[in-house]
Amino acid sequence: MTAYLDHAATTPLVDEAYEAVTRALREIGNPSSLHGPGRRARRVVEESRETVASVLGARPSEVVFTGGGTESDNLAVKGLFWAARAADPARDRVIASRVEHHAVLDAVTWLHDAEGARVTWIEVDGLGRVHPDALAAALAADGGPATAALVTVMWANNEVGTVNDVAALAELAHAHGIPFHTDAVQAVGQLDVDFAASGADALTVSAHKVGGPVGVGALLLGRDADVTPLLHGGGQERDVRSGTVDVAGIAGFAAALEVVRRDGAARAVQLMALRDELVERVLAAVPDAVLNGDPSPSGRLPGNAHLSFPGCEGDALLMLLDAQGVACSTGSACTAGVAKPSHVLLAMGQDIARARGSLRFSLGHTTQPADIDELVAVLPGAVERARLAGAVRPSR
């Protein structure tokens, strides 16, 4: 009935994760307790940690479980900044790309507003990509690399799906002794994410984007990375993150990543084929629609399609598609629900009208060709109606 094309927002739980979560929920025991039930809970957490580490190319000791992607991003951005500035007060500058997810963007803005951090934004190209020379320019700006506390650039963009060369960017930051963080929330599950090979000092991952439960994630944190905690208390996670760990959530996270290890490569191939079919058929049905982001399959997330529909308001299109059982996304909205023109598309040099008239269709492990049939069946009518509504101006 519903064509769910919003996997980048959240993707259905895989059966293996469901079973791992429900099994763990029946058990008692705080992993920090010293008795038998505590040890059994601890074993679930540590085995999960080993799974997460091995799927993502990290050591188990480098996995810090958190409450999700937003917490991991905040811990990395604020924690790396505080620690670097404490060690050397000259390092008071955050270097971040303009197209980061709000969990990074708003943490950086908060550091500027509340903590006196200076911020240098890295420009992106028209496809939404951060080039090493753009990072080099940002490093050299505003007092030079010796004033930089951290660099943060996402692995793959959550809106337009553009993939960055994280290893090259991390290497550039390291050449100046600057820690490098990457938000890999959208990349994990669709791309081969290897923490060690990337060279990053910190990497954000979230369970519910890979078929695990909502409310759990991890920050992969190199053993030499110095991070000031956000949450103080029992010091459960490497003294970097306090709070009783969510055993069931972590078990589900690990189970979902096991499925990624088993199916990930084949799934990426399938997703890419489905995505290409979706784009091709949408462009055939709505000839003046425009694909945003990298047109080359190797440069974008396999499950991402992001298109602008000239003359349409994205929120009108979303409503019309929703009414006909197609679920997709326009981008971010404020707490009251007002749709905002995407900062990603604006940073890519597009005008506000095109930014407002865009939709993201994101595919995942449950996507079938029938979902695309449903979309293509209703999209032209929705575009036609949205164009009429977009042409409406106040009558007096």
């Binding site: 009108a316 009251a336 109606r385 042409a391 009558s395």
Partner: protein
């Protein structure tokens, strides 16, 4: 021969986050309509975050949840600023006393929103206004104290043809009781009376928008009796807060405001009496006639002779009205039925 329109089937319900619009939407669902709810974001937060009234938006979203219908937020802040707020400020700056709620209905809800809804395939717009409408004819609510037909009184017939007012057949008390029975959490929310974008301090809002504009306060003979910081802080008929020098023996009222010279003219209550006035941009389509007119929200109607001159109305009142300001609406009634409306452009007091 007039063909009866079929009742709207696919409707858009505007949810303010208050009790009236919640019950209106609920009744539309009960009536078998295919209902989609929207909350209208009319202003953006001062921090530029794009947020308007997150609490009201959340309340509206919960109402839609309870009703089990789709819910969206429509951002109309730019249109609202251009059509209502700018008009409000400009109107005060020109010595008038605008009615932004009438403007909002005329230019936002039953224009920008209704037009967009129609373009998107909706047959009509459901709101929580206390008024009744059938076949494009507007009537007062059965709750005379809460009746809102006045603020809808300048709508054209084609605008009213797309309007659905499900709560106009009930008293406010009954609407609240029904909201409680339906488990709508907004049932006890207090009524709002303030202009939604100025809060309680309209004078402060205008001072910020227009800056200080000092000028004299004079009597009808032109003798200076006081001074003010901005004529926009005054409304015709206002008595309190008029800063006059000593020696006045009787209460003074604002009679008129002359924006060019920034002069506020004051006088006695007798001098405030309006017996004739002119309306512009009339929506009344009939011939000259005698009928009731209402000159302010919640004022009693007054019998009058109405003479039609194109889209202007010359109105002679059978008894004097007080505190009638240019910029307000004049709405014509035959009993409960709204005949049409216009904007007051002048009165015999300001002349």
């Amino acid at each position: 021969m007039r063909v009866a329109r079929p009742r709207p089937q696919k409707v858009l319900a505007a949810l303010s986050g208050g009790v009236d619009s919640a019950v209106a939407a609920a009744r539309a669902v009960d009536a078998g309509h295919d209902v989609t709810c929207v909350h209208l974001a009319l202003t953006h937060g001062i921090d530029g975050s794009g947020c308007c009234t997150p609490d009201d938006a959340r309340d509206a979203a919960r109402v839609a949840d309870v009703l089990g219908v789709p819910y969206y937020v429509w951002d109309l802040a730019d249109t609202f600023a251009a059509s209502v707020i700018d008009d409000f400020v400009a109107s005060y700056a020109s010595g008038q006393t605008p009615n932004p709620c009438v403007r909002c209905n005329e230019r936002i809800k039953f224009a920008a929103v209704l037009d967009r809804a129609r373009a998107l395939g909706f047959d009509g717009l459901v709101t929580g206004h206390h008024a009744r409408v059938a076949d494009g004819v507007l009537r007062r609510s059965v709750d005379r104290a809460k009746d809102q037909s006045y603020v809808l009184g300048t709508l054209r017939r084609d605008q009213l043809a797309g309007a659905v007012f499900p709560v106009g057949t009930s008293t406010k008390q009954a609407v609240r009781a029904e909201a409680r029975e339906r488990g709508l959490l907004v049932s006890e929310k207090p009524d709002s009376f303030d202009v939604c974008f100025t809060g309680q301090d309209t004078a402060g809002f205008l001072r910020a928008a227009l800056g200080p504009q000092p000028g004299p306060i004079v009597d009808r003979e032109g003798a200076v009796v006081g001074a003010h910081d901005g004529a926009y802080a005054f409304t015709v008929g206002q008595r309190r807060g008029v800063p006059l020098g000593g020696g006045t023996r009787e209460p003074r009222y604002v009679l008129s405001i002359e924006p060019a010279s920034r002069t506020v003219v004051v006088g006695s209550r007798e001098e405030l009496a309006v017996t004739s006035l002119t309306g512009t941009a009339s929506t009344y389509e009939g011939p000259s006639r005698s009928c009731d007119v209402q000159l302010r929200a919640h004022a009693d109607p007054i019998a009058a002779d109405v003479t039609v001159r194109g889209d202007e109305l010359a109105i002679a009142l059978h008894e004097p009205a007080f505190g009638i300001a240019p910029g307000q609406a004049v709405v014509l009634y035959d009993g409960d039925v709204v005949l049409g409306g216009a904007w007051i452009s002048s009165t015999n007091v300001g002349a």
